[in-house]
Symmetry: C2
Subunit: 340 residues, 2 copies
């Protein structure tokens, strides 16, 4: 029978985790990692520290029947790495706070930590601390991630300007469509290899691309997409006090999303606009800087970078230009955790 947390106890689990983390390379500036009341680190001069936290809750953000523990660990880390990348930063130090059911198999937690490390290692980043507590009925993973960025290079969501071009990486909406395929497909089985399902289970961050964009000094604002293309564009508009005009014909729809949406009886835009954990980037910049930003992104990978519209005056709100030329006002329709 497989061992559970109840069998080995909190301190047994800590020992297990520490032995996995021993495989980490040294993290830059770390003086003291796991094992004391707090971790200690010495930041680099000339750099700002970026700090973000995000949690995933069983039954709300993930379903154990659809995602294994290693992918779950990767996913939880990816969404935090994405936040650091969306500011133009490089992730370094992670703290993992887990709420776990006593019946959780120990090897699930080991796999989850391996998932964390798969995502952290390429950055020379590591787990430097955390907390483990028991929870009833459902588990949660809360990660705090600290990164660094050269002073003055931070890219905010509050600094878009009217006249800016709006750029988007990749194909937002694929993860939401993948989740719906899973929910309607009664379990994994042959679905697991579907490209849309893979987008949901193994999302990619664009942290390298985000840092490369910030390093150009050519972008005005940036955000990562987790509340949907419209939801996160609305965050930029609200914080920057601007509006936006999206041109539907320029929105990136992958063949997979088009086919997947059709098979679900929906439009691909239903998935692109609403909450979807794709972790792609929205960038705004002076139209004269598009080429520099395109060059920066293509130096990292061949993800498409599409110009999808313009930042306009706040008074004009957020509008979608349809293929027939009509302008449709669009309400921000992102993810609201508490919406009934």
């Amino acid at each position: 029978m497989q061992k559970t947390l109840k069998d080995i106890g909190e301190f047994g689990l800590i020992t297990t985790i520490e032995s996995i983390l021993k495989g980490q390379r040294g993290v830059r500036g770390l003086r003291l990692g796991i094992g004391d009341d707090a971790a200690s680190l010495v930041p680099r001069q000339g750099y700002e520290l970026l700090v973000t936290c995000d949690s995933v809750v069983e039954g709300i953000h993930y379903f154990p029947e659809f995602i294994g523990p290693k992918d779950l660990g990767r996913r939880a880390m990816v969404l935090n790495i994405s936040d650091i990348g969306a500011m133009g930063g490089h992730p370094l130090y992670a703290l993992i706070s887990l709420g776990l059911k006593a019946t959780t198999p120990v090897h699930h937690i080991e796999e989850m930590y391996r998932g964390f490390l798969v995502e952290l290692s390429p950055f020379g980043a590591g787990v430097i601390g955390g907390n483990i507590t028991r929870s009833e009925n459902f588990s949660f993973i809360d990660i705090t991630l600290i990164g660094e960025v050269e002073e003055g290079r931070v890219l905010r969501r509050s600094t878009a300007r009217a006249g800016d071009a709006i750029l988007v990486t990749g194909y937002p909406g694929q993860a939401a469509a993948g989740l719906e395929l899973l929910l309607k497909g009664n379990g994994r089985g042959e679905l697991v290899e579907h490209p849309l399902v893979q987008s949901y289970i193994r999302p990619r961050h664009r942290a390298r691309e985000g840092k490369a964009i910030a390093d150009t000094g050519c972008a005005n604002a940036m955000i990562d997409i987790s509340d949907g293309l419209l939801g996160d564009l609305a965050h930029i508009c609200e914080r920057s006090n601007v509006g936006a005009l999206l041109i539907q014909e320029q929105l990136p729809v992958s063949d997979e999303l088009r086919r997947g949406a059709a098979s679900l009886g929906k439009s691909p835009y239903d998935f692109m606009f609403r909450a979807s954990d794709d972790y792609e980037l929205i960038i705004t910049c002076d139209p004269g800087n598009i080429h520099s930003i395109r060059t920066a992104v293509s130096s990292i990978c061949d993800v498409p970078l599409n110009e999808v519209g313009r930042i306009i005056d706040a008074s004009e709100g957020i509008k979608l230009k349809l293929p027939d030329g009509r302008l449709e006002p669009v309400p921000p329709s992102g993810w609201d955790s508490f919406a009934g």
Copy 2:
């Protein structure tokens, strides 16, 4: 009818929280607080950053029928401040990750945030970020707290030496006794003003005392007590590879604990040794340095500082010297979240 999170939604709640946090004074080194993908800060040169995280889960660490939302906020922050203080640090930046039921009244969250600020403000510290998510059945609060300490002044748990005196602040065990009074008392009522119950509901941290002790340079090791006096002494022994001899007659038992334990039909040591969230400090130091540490603590407040034993060789384990002179080996009996 009072408004709940379901009524105002996630983004309504964020607006509510932001308006409470506007009352915060500026936090040293903070470039960018709440409202973007990550917060940004510029650390002071010559200082290390300390990072800790700790969560409290409804039904495991707190019971809403025993503690109001403001005290709950204070308590969750105190236990993190305590961890920073136990390293000799000064708390600065907090990130608050909440898992909340949709039925939670909005004003509970407002009160909780006021509780966070009551504890942070005296340090010039503030809330710089966080995350809100829905959870089912129970709520959780996960706090990451970042502090600073002069380079080289960090006090660890892994650096106790055989021959050190063991010092303890205050009266560990009072919070555990207070909790048991509450659990056996069928609700608050007249119990709420009981000093032991107050120790549980409104614990104090010793962060100022911890920093003053670190500043003397006279202590060898330090830890805060949350797993019980024995549990946390065992952490020091394990990490420092030493043993410990405790002298029962020197252990600090308050009159309240003595009376409260008697009324519960127990020994005060039952509460002092086992998990109890008192957030007092255990300090080890060269016996010649006791006076300096006593002076540092009394410069902050009049909490008692008792010498309760000696650090001994690892081979001797952890022992308790009873009043009749017998030596009793004691197993570490701290809090294990997953213990059946």
